[in-house]
Symmetry: C2
Subunit: 202 residues, 2 copies
């Protein structure tokens, strides 16, 4: 057996920028960005501290890339989910489902993006805020269309309804457990029912 390309790390494969980002997302979510050290990231991957700098320029780059990926993923999930729906209420339902499922299936990344924005330097933060605003515009447009079609309240603005919806969905990252009773789909159904119909018995 030739020993070329024999890795000395414990993960079996070469450390790639991809693996780095995965592990970073996990640790950033577990301990927070500022409290996570590059030492820990390297240790988790079974390599020396210096080795990770072959793949990345800085710790902040890991956070930035992760935020970009998170926002691209959720935006694309929602856009795809509503693409083949024309009924305004169906589009709202599809959006809720896609947002919740996408968010919870890649929870570490989305949670980090949603809560660690302030750790980025000003230029990178501005870029992420721009992407986030773009996503919020998509959500708001879907809400607004439903209002115009007469199937959602008009007593509140599209902005207010959008913020309330994201409130209801996003906080889930803080308590959702993969080993819990409710699947992402179950939660999406619950939130859809509550958002559209409320919890009061009629």
């Amino acid at each position: 057996m030739k020993n070329r390309a024999k890795p000395t790390n414990r993960q079996g494969g070469a450390v790639t920028a991809e693996k780095l980002r995965e592990e970073a997302a996990r640790l950033f979510w577990e301990k927070g960005y500022a409290a996570t050290t590059t030492r820990e990231i390297a240790e988790s991957l079974g390599v020396q501290r210096a080795s990770i700098y072959y793949h990345i320029e800085s710790k902040e780059e890991l956070l930035y890339d992760l935020c970009v990926e998170s926002l691209r993923n959720i935006r694309s999930a929602v856009a795809t989910a509503v693409a083949d729906k024309s009924d305004p209420l169906d589009r709202v339902r599809a959006m809720i489902r896609a947002h919740v499922v996408s968010m919870l299936e890649d929870r570490e990344k989305h949670a980090t993006m949603l809560t660690e924005l302030r750790a980025l330097s000003a230029p990178r933060r501005a870029e992420i805020v721009r992407l986030r605003d773009e996503y919020e515009s998509l959500v708001r447009a879907i809400v607004s269309e439903a209002q115009e079609a007469g199937v959602l309240w008009k007593e509140a603005s599209a902005k207010e309804l959008e913020l309330a919806l994201l409130n209801l969905l996003n906080w889930t990252i803080f308590w959702y457990r993969t080993d819990g009773e409710l699947s992402p789909e179950d939660l999406a159904k619950l939130f859809e029912k509550i958002y559209l119909g409320g919890v009061a018995r009629t």
Copy 2:
């Protein structure tokens, strides 16, 4: 003029544990607990770094005290608000109002408590989790009573309805601005309407 007790800091008064906690809450919320340095806290108060250790034992103590205070305040606000109501639906409404107003009027403290728990050492974290669970039990009891009285859904459990309610309310800390269009009371009314009645036009 005698110059005894003349403070050299820029704040005009003596630095007290109270002022320390206020400033810490502000900075912890602005930059996160781990990214906030004791140097910055001292600088904001106009004193030398060493001086703050006369009032506290460690940076972590600031976070812990702040979490305890936050949970005591919101619990007491909600308990007081529902105390004189007997109608189950009125109690739910009063709880929403008190939670939102209390949370937003002392936003830095509550936000820090809600998001920086993981920075505490295990014993202190356990203590805060216990207080938080106590508060959640109060919320759940109010929801549960309303279900038993037949005025809220029973298709979902009290736990699910409680989690969904706190979702809807808590995420507000991430976007609420004191200079925005909506007051805490306005937001409480909006959330009350959405939570109980949903946003679909009937």
